[in-house]
């Protein structure tokens, strides 16, 4: 996989993960192009698009589009299920996930993705194992955190 993008129906990028070395300008250009292309598609059209020498595989979940760019010889259907599994992971972790969860907890969305896919390839496809890893990490931080005052939290002190 070369990259994964999550974006809203309005074309706002919610998560971007790049597995190939690209400059920031290239990334911005590619995101714009891909988002525009995918948003122009009508429902019921097929989920695969040829784009440059890559294949774009996308699926819409409620207000969010999940979109992966994979190499030409890659299997489209299994990529579609990569997307679905990621959605399941988010859903399980956040408890019926919505776009807002991903906006406000973007770092978590990245952690979950890193546990599931690394360097563009599936690392662990078992839902239980991925969530276990994330929950262990959450445990680690809960032990470490000490409660703080509200004022301190919002940076007024």
């Amino acid at each position: 996989m070369q990259f994964m993008l999550l974006f809203s129906r309005q074309g706002k990028l919610r998560l971007q993960k790049w597995y190939a070395p690209l400059s920031d300008t290239q990334k911005k250009k590619i995101s714009r192009e891909v988002i525009q292309m995918v948003l122009a598609r009508k429902p019921k059209m097929c989920s695969f698009l040829e784009w440059r020498d890559l294949k774009i595989v996308y699926k819409r979940y409620a207000s969010l589009y999940f979109c992966c760019a994979v190499e030409d010889q890659e299997n489209e259907l299994i990529t579609l299920e990569i997307i679905h599994r990621y959605v399941e992971l988010l859903d399980k972790y956040f408890g019926s996930v919505c776009e807002l969860d991903i906006i406000f907890n973007f770092e978590k969305a990245y952690y979950i993705l890193d546990e599931f896919i690394l360097g563009g390839e599936a690392q662990e496809t078992s839902k239980k194992n991925v969530l276990k890893a994330i929950e262990q990490a959450d445990m680690l931080q809960e032990e470490a955190e000490t409660p703080r005052s509200v004022l301190e939290e919002i940076g007024l002190t």
């Binding site: 097929c46 299920e81 690394l118 360097g119 599936a122 931080q141």
Partner: protein, 983 residues
């Protein structure tokens, strides 16, 4: 703001995100962000040491701001500090920040690598995984240097936790992709291969990606993986859907691993060991059988996962191409999908069948689905699916069904999406040629193609039909008759006129016996189209006329009269004028014998690779064309210009007819990668001829270019730099903004001096220019493409802003009236006073049928036009290079190649730039170095250039590094900008 259900909940971050979301406008958002950035900056700079939590929060905010698309130029150090925190979440945020915002700052990389090293040796699996994720995410060469030796050891060590192994495997894969030379598997190979046997499915899933990549590069060293993969696959395929627990996905056992195993096997030929092969065939059969079973769930995930494995199995079956039984079964299975209600499956079935069609075992089975595929082409609502259907029709076409398929594709073409028309045209043309039993069908098909989709018929296609007609005498009479009939249509496409002109010029005699197509009738028919055509077509028609004089002496007087008319012999287009003059002279002084020799019928073209096939390959990549087509030879460009190379008496006409790089072919050259032909030396020398023929010899040319005198008019004129010769009415009130594409148009002329600057439906603007020292002269040709006259045609050339003091531009007035089909010329004199960056603006106004047309372009006057090439030896070059060593004297750009890296093309472009191309100067023969001096009135600016192509850059793309050093910084910068767009 939603309740943060889990995790650390940095409330300050949530508040900030809410604020951003509540911003009503982009400006408000930017304001809020700037406020936050200022706050964070002051916190980071403040005297009070920040605790880990605050640091984490601020770094996280910076990350959020960056992901919104804003630039972040600080905070890296704080993020690196977090890496060494004992608190997991702080470390985690630090790593995330580094992964997203890598900085090539070497000092930082060293610190990051240190932190990673500590975590890798911490023996805490969670920390180790974080560090490995970071390496995999960044994947830089520095990291490969630091860790490529360490990670294989972690991967195979007996005491490494499974989760760490998984991360290590994929981390290594990423490093191998960026720096294969640094990842040495050697002693680890066998232990890595044996990870396929690991008990933990997750470890196998991660490791197999690494093994597949390594096998592709070193198949021999990894070939033991084949039998291991087969047995692993066999165990998965035969397991019940619950056996694999959490690795079963919607009742499908381990779909990801299965796909990856099948993919790994595609790196190798079929197993030689009979037992292994038997087991594998069994697996493949099981997969095909399972696809037929009733679904265990109605969920689309179930069918997707199952079919993902099926398609991957079919890919393997096609890859082996040795099991007829499996191939035919695969084909039948895909046949069922062709009518599936899921669009995705129809798309994939069409795509997969395309490859099945090229196997001799399944070709016939694929053909049985022809009706379904034709139906898909007609009824699919999604253009990408229709495209696949068209591809499949192309792939399944053979002698038995060619007529049907070509007919269907032709009829589809009438309504086809614009985006795929050109490709469809190429495909139809190729099929028609390849499977033509009788060539009359071929001729009919191509003429139909021109009729239906004339705009999409590229030159290659019409060149090819002429090549074929010339080479096959059995079809020549039919071709002449058919084009003659096609030309009867009141409106026919210009490409039809081209084919018609060429064929009647060669073979009109074959139908001249019929009084309905007597020589004069033929001539009148062709000539009735003349005024509607563009200059290149007119040039071709003129050649057809002279050929007529040879074929039919009775047309001589009529044609001579046409040639002698003012609109030909005094045509403002030099090419047309030259042809008219030469042909007229030739026809009046040459004896019949000489005429017959000079105007002899074109000899057959050498058989080469079809130019249209070459074009399709270029368009779609080699995969688009089946193997047997590729065998025909690699040589590209078997175009008509073969005719020009043959020389001999007919060469003058042959060359111009055949669109070799002649000035007029160049004027038409928008489609065919203009700089290639335009920069060729032959075009240059032709231009010089043209100039001298027009009575402007070299000296006169220079003498004419007296610097424009200062006149009091120009002081009064409103527009900056308004030329005093411009008609008074057109001093433009509004500093017109140039067309959006004008920069692109300008870029096309950096390395060449002639060509078409602009073209729309009404107007074509051609340019010829020449420069000497700091002076230049430019001829602009305004062609009216319509049959209606343009009135109040005025042009204004202005130098905006400071350009006014840098360039002196004078233009002569143009005729205010351009008749339909006519062309007028304008001369512009240019003097370079000092170096400049912007280009002069050319504003054109005219009325066409009452409507005012107004457009502004950039005149392609760029600083490099005033280059004088400077030859120098290697030693001198480097000495001067060193002398220009102040940082501002150098400009450098690294950019992606837009075109193939062809040495000859590169050289031609660099020569076109105007500098001297220095051979044997750079120690690396791949590099190009050039030297030249820019001549301006105020000063001379010496410039050196070095272009380093890198055909295999890190990202797999072709890159260039361009370095320019000049005695003036603005010149370096501008040259660099201009050139970066050229390759």
């Amino acid at each position: 703001m939603p309740a943060v259900s889990k995790g650390d909940g940095m409330r300050g971050l949530a508040v900030f995100i809410s604020d951003i979301r509540n911003c009503k406008s982009k400006e408000a958002e930017i304001k809020r962000i700037n406020k936050e950035l200022a706050n964070i900056r002051s916190k980071f700079k403040g005297d009070k040491a920040l605790d880990g939590y605050s640091k984490k929060k601020y770094v996280c905010k910076l990350l959020f701001i960056f992901l919104l698309g804003h630039d972040i130029d600080f905070g890296h150090m704080e993020a690196v500090n977090l890496l060494s925190s004992n608190k997991y979440t702080e470390k985690q945020i630090g790593y995330l920040f580094i992964s997203v915002l890598v900085n090539s700052n070497s000092e930082l990389i060293r610190l990051i690598n240190n932190a990673i090293k500590n975590d890798l040796s911490s023996r805490n699996p969670t920390f180790m995984c974080l560090a490995l994720h970071c390496i995999a995410n960044v994947g830089s060469r520095e990291m490969a240097e630091a860790f490529a030796g360490e990670i294989p050891r972690i991967l195979v060590a007996g005491d490494t936790m499974d989760s760490v192994k998984q991360s290590a495997a994929l981390c290594l894969l990423r490093l191998y992709k960026t720096s294969p030379d640094l990842v040495l598997m050697g002693e680890w190979t066998s232990r890595v291969v044996h990870l396929l046997n690991d008990q933990h499915m997750g470890v196998v899933t991660a490791a197999i990606s690494l093994i597949t990549c390594l096998s592709q590069k070193n198949p021999d060293e990894f070939k033991t993986c084949v039998s291991l993969a087969v047995s692993r696959l066999s165990r998965i395929v035969s397991s019940a859907s619950t056996d694999l627990q959490d690795y079963t996905y919607y009742f499908v056992p381990a779909p990801w691993l299965s796909c990856k195993l099948l993919r790994l096997l595609q790196c190798y030929p079929p197993p030689e060991d009979g037992a292994v092969k038997g087991r594998l065939v069994e697996c493949l059969e099981t997969i095909l059988n399972k696809a037929q079973e009733p679904p265990k769930s109605k969920k689309v995930q179930h069918s997707n996962a199952k079919n993902a494995i099926l398609f991957e199995a079919i890919s393997l079956i096609i890859h082996y191409d040795s099991e007829p039984n499996l191939l035919v079964r695969a084909c039948n299975q895909l046949g069922q999908f062709l009518q599936h209600r899921e669009t995705n499956l129809r798309y994939l079935a069409l795509e997969s069948m395309c490859t099945l069609a090229s196997s001799e075992f399944s070709h016939e089975a694929v053909k049985t689905h022809i009706e379904t595929v034709i139906n898909a082409l007609k009824t699919e609502r999604d253009v990408s699916v229709r495209q696949r259907a068209a591809d499949l029709l192309y792939a399944m076409c053979d002698r038995s069904n060619a007529k049907q398929i070509v007919a269907e594709m032709l009829s589809y073409l009438e309504t086809a999406d614009y985006s795929i028309r050109e490709e469809m045209v190429l495909k139809v043309a190729i099929l028609a040629e390849k499977y033509a039993v009788d060539y009359s069908w071929y001729v009919d098909t191509i003429l139909n193609l021109i009729r239906i989709a004339g705009d999409y018929v590229s030159e290659e296609v019409w060149y090819r039909v002429i090549q074929i007609v010339i080479n096959r005498d059995d079809v020549q009479g039919y071709a002449a008759k058919t084009v003659f009939e096609a030309l009867q249509a009141p409106a026919c496409h210009e490409n039809m006129v081209k084919v018609g002109g060429y064929i009647l010029g060669e073979f009109g005699n074959l139908i001249a016996g019929d009084p309905r197509s007597s020589p004069l009738v033929q001539f009148n028919l062709l000539h009735s189209k003349f005024h509607l055509c563009s200059v290149p077509t007119r040039a071709l028609l003129l050649s057809a006329y002279i050929k007529f004089i040879n074929l039919f002496p009775e047309t001589k007087s009529t044609i001579q009269e046409v040639l002698r008319s003012d609109s030909q012999i005094r045509n403002s287009d030099v090419e047309l004028q030259q042809r008219a003059v030469e042909y007229l002279k030739l026809s009046s002084i040459a004896s019949t014998d000489v005429l017959a020799t000079v105007l002899e019928e074109m000899p057959p073209f050498p058989e080469r690779e079809s130019s249209i096939l070459a074009k399709l390959k270029k368009k779609k990549g080699p995969g688009a064309v089946s193997v047997n087509e590729l065998e025909e030879g690699k040589r590209e460009g078997g175009e008509l210009n073969g005719g020009g190379e043959r020389g001999g008496d007919g060469s003058a006409i042959a060359a111009s007819n055949a669109s070799t790089p002649s000035p007029s072919a160049d004027l038409l050259g928008l489609r065919t990668g203009p700089p290639v032909t335009a920069a060729a030396p032959s075009a240059g020398s032709l231009l010089v001829d043209v100039f001298s023929e027009a009575g402007v010899n070299d000296d006169g040319f220079l003498r004419d270019l007296e610097p424009p005198t200062e006149s009091s008019d120009s002081l009064l004129a409103e527009g900056p730099g308004d030329s005093d010769s411009a008609p008074p009415s057109v001093v433009s009130e509004d500093p017109a903004t140039p067309l959006p594409e004008s920069n692109e148009l300008l870029n096309k002329f950096v390395c060449k001096n002639n060509g078409v600057l602009f073209e729309n439906q009404l107007l074509q603007i051609g340019i010829k220019s020449e420069y000497r020292q700091n002076l230049g002269r430019m001829y602009l040709f305004y062609g009216n493409k319509t049959s209606v006259q343009f009135v109040t045609f005025t042009t204004t050339v202005t130098c905006p802003g400071e350009l006014q003091s840098q360039l002196n531009v004078q233009s002569k007035t143009v005729e205010p009236l351009i008749e339909g089909g006519a062309q007028v010329q304008q001369v512009i004199n240019i003097e370079c006073l000092t170096d400049f960056t912007d280009a002069p603006l050319l504003n054109i106004k005219f009325r066409y049928g009452g409507a005012l047309q107004n457009l502004t372009l950039k005149l392609p006057v760029t600083i490099n036009k005033f280059f004088q090439p400077t030859e120098m030896a290697s030693h001198d070059f480097f000495q001067r290079w060193k002398q220009l060593s102040q940082p501002q004297q150098e400009a450098q750009k690294i950019f992606k190649a837009n075109n193939a890296m062809d040495t000859e093309v590169l050289k031609a472009k660099l020569l076109g730039l105007g500098m001297a191309l220095l051979e044997n100067v750079d120690p690396n023969p791949e590099n190009f170095v050039c030297a030249g001096v820019i001549q301006t009135k105020a000063q001379q600016v010496g410039s050196l250039l070095r272009l380093e192509p890198n055909a295999q850059a890190q990202s797999g793309e072709q890159m260039y590094r361009l370095t320019v050093r000049s005695s003036k910084d603005t010149v370096s910068k501008r040259l660099c900008e201009l050139l970066a767009e050229q390759f």
